[in-house]
């Protein structure tokens, strides 16, 4: 295992999240009841997605500057993992909403914004699969990825906050204030976020390394044919 120390930190933090997240005291709130514990699992999915998309965005810009196909490969695998976490976040959010808001889908502004940004990122993968030429695919998808990231931020983090929403932190509803995140919850929530982001980066790094191995193999065959 390469650079193993942060992976061990990640394992410890997530182990603590699973056990502490279920057993540590939480505030007693109506409607939410024990489901407040979902905060340790549902919300970090989105933070992880954000970090992965952010890294992909950086690598897309790097590709446009360097024209190195490896940067493109990093961007794609990071985006892939980000999409995986966004699907997990959406699924867990819908499960949670079913039992607290009364319906899995209630056209909440944040749900709609998230669904739109998910579609934008799905289109990124479809766009890539539609272009045969490697260089052209890398360049077009890098430009698209920069726009996708620039769209994702307002869709998920700005627009839903300007209208009324069921999510906390929207429509003048304060997020992460005492009323929905007390000091007991912070003791699990912050390690949980760090742990899940670590897991996302770990999975992405494995995908990147596999893809790099494939890439090198193709390169070697290409040189051999020459």
């Amino acid at each position: 295992m390469r650079n193993w120390w942060w992976k061990i930190v990640c394992i410890v933090l997530l182990g603590y999240t699973v056990v502490g997240g279920l057993l540590m005291p939480v505030p007693r709130l109506d409607i939410l009841n024990e489901t407040i514990r979902n905060l340790y699992f549902h919300v970090p999915m989105w933070f992880t997605m954000l970090v992965l998309y952010g890294c992909a965005f950086v690598y897309s810009i790097k590709y446009l500057r360097s024209n190195d196909l490896k940067d493109d490969l990093y961007a794609v695998q990071l985006t892939n993992t980000g999409i995986f976490f966004s699907i997990l976040g959406m699924a867990t959010g819908m499960e949670w909403a079913q039992f607290t808001w009364g319906a899995a889908w209630s056209n909440d502004p944040k749900q709609l914004g998230t669904a739109m940004s998910m579609l934008i990122y799905f289109a990124y993968l479809i766009l890539r699969s539609g272009i045969k030429d490697e260089e052209k695919r890398a360049k077009i998808s890098a430009v698209y990825n920069v726009f996708a990231f620039a769209m994702m931020i307002p869709l998920i983090f700005i627009l839903p906050r300007m209208v009324d929403s069921l999510h906390p932190g929207n429509g003048g509803n304060p997020a992460f204030k005492q009323y929905d995140l007390d000091s007991n919850m912070r003791m699990v929530f912050y390690p949980a976020v760090a742990g899940w982001i670590g897991l996302g980066l770990w999975i992405a790094s494995l995908k990147i390394r596999t893809a790099l191995l494939n890439h090198e193999e193709e390169q070697m065959e290409f040189d051999f044919e020459k």
Binding site: R2, G15, L206, E216
Partner: protein, 68 residues
Amino acid sequence: MRKLSLTLLLLISTTIYCQAQATQMADEMRSNGKIYVVVAVLATIFAGILIYLVMLDRKITRLEKQRK
């Protein structure tokens, strides 16, 4: 004789009482709502996923070393 039987009765009843107490307190996995069982199940699944990731990581590292 009566004293003896009384003592015996007391002894037996205490042991039974203690046993009842012991079964009730069996362990935490069986107590209050059995949430610890859920924690154990989740922890098992989680450990499985992490072990899988570690094995995958080591396999890729081995492949990378072979390539060099």
